[in-house]
Amino acid sequence: MGIILDSFNIAYRDILIESRRAYEIVSTIFFAVSAVILISVAWGTPISITIEEGTASLWIIIFFTSILSFTTSFAREIDRGTIGGLRTLPCSPLAILFGKVMYSTAIMLIVLAVLLPLSIVFLNIQLSIKFFDLLLILVIGIVDLSFVGSFVSSITMYSEGKTLLLPFLLFPLCLPVFVPAMLSTEKVLNGLNYVDYSGELRLLAAFFVLVLIISIFAFETILEE
């Protein structure tokens, strides 16, 4: 219980900081909005975009937008020296990582709230088909992506070229999230049932567990100076 409460407090603090830097979240949303419109224009008329094309576009936008959030996640703590403050806390090191995951997830859910309605108009995504199934997959995918992204962000935080290194490392490491999330979204939008995409959900869960195990063993060392 303690670790969850500590994670929540860290996430709350990050969200409070973000609320005082509203221009950052606005720029993230603006990036997502412009990407949707540009992709839609590139495909031609929105009505001609297939489910496969729309789904792929949606996840690509989610992926690139999430990078904006991960680059500030741990890097900001290093750049401002507040990482030392995190090292004074008596909580489990994992609470700090989970706090960052919660924060990134919250930011991405705000982006998703803007992105989804736009996707109906510009990417021809039909929300009426199994809306809650679709939402579940998107949320699971975003949580997975936030976990991997926050972990990679912590690995790269000490590097001088972290803004370059993060996307380089994130791209191959996110494929096990990206591919099943995209395939399951496609299946839901095609009207298939849970049994048809449960394999992809299991893959997402398995990858989450794998990153969790690596974090348990590695994160304390990463956090050390």
């Binding site: 500590d6 005082r20 004074t88």
Partner: protein
């Protein structure tokens, strides 16, 4: 029961080929106020960071109030207040919000935390700035806010790395008076380049040179 506030046994730290600490063995008694001195790169900050659980030693063993800094890190951190070279305050949060965040992370209950925030803000004389964002504070005021943070969870051992850097004489005097009021209550390890103003506070001095303790004197 533990006999010492800090026990270091044959502690070494290596950064690649650089040996920052070389087999440091020292026991610091409860209530000691220790001046940690030495040239740049002598190993004093590394020593303080190891005791403060910010880094692990390459070899050797460190205990704070009987708890091992590697195995019981969480317990050690509850007993320690650490002030580093850089500020640990968050720019966008006010002084009070920063203190509240750290207090909550040390599991201090709401009514106790409210009272504690009042006390530490008064201690560093920052009443006027409690609702000011940390980024709007001058260097000296920010340092004082950081010192308030260090005291928020009533630590038993204080580790202060260069606490007076960037402070004017008045602020230094204010802090030293504060430290004097803590004599006998808590153990303090203070590193600085200039100790002239603090001679009346210390009862022990440690001088580091090339990763070793060169002098370990008790002040009468």
């Amino acid at each position: 029961m533990f006999d010492y506030a800090v026990e270091c046994k044959d502690v070494s730290k290596q950064y690649g080929t650089l040996r920052a600490l070389r087999g440091v063995t020292i026991n610091i008694e409860i209530g000691d106020i220790v001046a940690v001195s030495g040239h740049n790169g002598a190993g004093k900050s590394t020593f303080l960071k190891i005791v403060g659980t910010h880094i692990s030693s390459s070899s050797g063993n460190v205990k704070v109030l009987g708890n091992d800094t590697t195995k019981d890190r969480s317990k050690v951190r509850r007993d320690i207040g650490f002030l580093g070279h850089t500020s640990f305050m968050y720019d966008e949060l006010t002084v009070e919000e920063n203190l509240r965040f750290y207090g909550v992370m040390f599991s201090i209950e709401r009514p106790t935390l409210d009272k504690r925030i009042e006390e530490v803000i008064e201690y560093v004389n920052l009443e006027r700035y409690r609702h000011t964002a940390a980024k709007k504070l001058s260097h000296g005021l920010r340092k004082r806010a950081d010192i308030a943070r260090v005291f928020i969870h009533s630590p038993k051992v204080l580790i202060l790395d260069e606490p007076f850097s960037g402070l004017d004489e008045k602020s230094i005097k204010l802090l030293i008076d504060g430290f004097k009021s803590q004599i006998g209550k808590i153990t303090m390890l203070i590193s600085s380049h200039s100790f002239e103003m603090m001679n009346s506070v210390f009862n022990r001095t440690l001088m580091f040179s090339e990763g070793k303790i060169l002098k370990n004197d008790r002040v009468a």
